[in-house]
Symmetry: C2
Subunit: 339 residues, 2 copies
DNA sequence: AACAGCATTCAAAGCGATTTCAATTTTGGA
DNA sequence: TCCAAAATTGAAATCGCTTTGAATGCTGTT
């Protein structure tokens, strides 16, 4: 069912039918109704390719993901939020997976050159993000999930990682902890650097010295977290508290604590960052997990909104959002043990 | 940079340039080289919309996901495998997220009517899957991840869930277990029904009676698994072994076992199904987890391959693959305790 | 030298929508 | 009743590519 068919069926020109369906004012109300009804009844939908060619808009936004490390549970949630909002505008989300950094830049170039997408989402940026620079050069609109230090203006949405870690660390200090381990994300990623800043700030505010042996940088998988936590627990004096970068990390730390024959919440404390996964609930852990919480799904939804505003013409320089992070105290964080 | 520009730049017609780039035989080798070099140097890439309109192919395949329950870690892995293969053919993956079943069918209709995708991937089907019927009616090619009972031929790839559960159950029976709980997927999903068949077959082969109280059907999240396992452990006589439907489920069961003051691998055994998540490794659990294993990422890759074959004209009736499932025994499955 | 036959190249017609510009119909006021 | 203005509709151009059918250039044979 093409526009032409529909037009013939109605005894109208393609022009009028097109206008009727797209809500142009110069079509008689009675005609519009007649057209809409026929379209609905016959199940007419404009051919996406033709529409895109005619309008020059791709009707899609792109998301490039690096292998499995980025296509983890975080991205799932994020994508779900993003997609929900975009669907309402009939905008597709085109997901491209790549294996290496090299491939990633090539993928952006490819998407840009073939005009497959109108805009992109960029996530987990580094402090000086090459991809952001590239997209700026290519003049492809994008919204950044996180922040990066580029000179040109960039639209972004980020959570207050520094504030979150500062509060979490301070809370543990209040509870008497002095040896607080930080299992942070990959070095160089902005969010990891920001978290480190918050951690450092809290420590130095109390005059607690920073011990590099208590800081680990890695991907957020339970496996590496387990290894890191395990080796940290062998230190003497051992850490009495952990700050875990994600719920996956928390699972690994938890395992290490248990394996060391210790009890979470009494012998060792932990506060984990929770991106709010429906299938991994901090309240349902045993013991329940204290967290710094911010819904990554909501971030996805909101970023869709920002992207739409951007495509609608809102200046990039005006598109910035910094979300506060909740600190939710549960059983996993208790007073420091007395040795 | 359009085809026209490139053609003018080279002093050739669009026709010749197009043919040169698309490998048609009737263009002189020298010309082809000249064109290819210019295209590469100028970074020419055909406009995706125009190409699609001209060829009638959408150059994309669709994936409709129901909210968070389907966009979990399983889908991430699967998507990663799928996307890797598709990228090599310059085929996009369009991801649509929907909240309800109603919305889902509408999404398929929408994608079909607007010809946004050339084919679709369907996953986690029910025994009699409405979506499959719809896509057949709409004449949209698709490959099913799993199986369903429809009368018309359908392309599919599935793992041998029945065999997997039969072997896992038999193994537990060999170890002396007689009260074996099954935490299965949502009732009605084919894979869950198949797993149940395998479980039942193994039980009845040994003359062990089936106890409905030991079977649970739910989504694969650690939370519901925890609740189910918890209540099952309160039964008298209690189950001495669990068959967990996924690694997420296993985490929940694990938590329940620990909370009940029992030891996994001695007091209670468990075999979980492992779809192979890079961030949740059965070998790195404590104790290590016995699993029935099949890489869902590999399945994604292979399905991409099948889809391409299908689009290449291979008859749907010839596209069927049933993958065997490994049984990997580790520490979590031990002999039944003596009461 | 002429010509059949093959190898190359090109002009122009789609693909299915939007949109410009022109044509037609309606409406309302004199 | 008539006419200008407004409302409504339509024909045709356009988006950037592929592809058909025609045209041209070369080759070797007679």
């Amino acid at each position: 069912m093409r526009l032409k068919d529909l037009a013939e069926h109605l005894g109208l020109s393609q022009t009028t039918v097109s206008r009727a369906l797209n809500g142009y004012p110069e079509v008689k109300e009675a005609t519009r109704v007649r057209v809409s009804e026929a379209a609905a009844q016959l199940g007419y939908r404009p051919n996406a390719s033709a529409l895109r060619l005619a309008t020059g808009r791709a009707g899609a936004i792109g998301l490039v993901l690096r292998g499995a490390d980025e296509l983890g549970p975080h991205m799932s949630e994020f994508l779900s939020g993003l997609g929900g909002r975009m669907a309402t505008q009939d905008i597709d989300i085109v997901v491209t997976t790549v294996a290496s950094h090299q491939e990633e830049l090539a993928a952006y170039r490819r998407l840009a050159a073939s005009q497959r997408v109108d805009a992109m989402i960029l996530h987990s940026p580094t402090l000086k993000d090459e991809r952001a620079e590239l997209l700026l050069d290519l003049k492809i609109p994008f919204v950044l999930h996180g922040r990066t230090n580029v000179t040109r203006p960039v639209a972004w949405l980020d959570i207050d990682n520094t504030g979150a870690l500062e509060r979490a660390t301070s809370h543990l200090l209040d509870l008497g902890h002095r040896r607080i381990a930080l299992l942070n994300g990959i070095k160089g990623r902005t969010f990891a650097e920001h978290r480190e800043l918050g951690y450092m700030a809290a420590l130095s505010a109390r005059g607690v010295p920073f011990d590099p042996a208590l800081m680990g940088n890695s991907a957020f998988t339970d496996e590496v977290a387990f290894r890191l936590a395990q080796s940290m627990l062998e230190l003497r004096p051992r850490p009495t508290a952990f700050l875990a970068g994600s719920m996956m990390t928390a699972l690994g730390v938890f395992r290490a604590i248990r394996q060391a024959g210790m009890q979470l919440g009494t012998d060792v404390s932990m506060i984990a960052h929770d991106d709010v996964f429906p299938y991994l609930n901090a309240d349902n852990m045993y013991p329940t997990m204290s967290t710094t919480r911010s819904s990554i799904r909501q971030a996805g939804e909101r970023m869709a909104e920002l992207l739409l505003q951007m495509l609608g013409g809102k200046p990039v320089a005006d598109i910035h959002e910094l979300w506060p992070v909740e600190l939710v105290l549960r059983e996993s964080s208790g007073p420091a043990p007395l040795f």
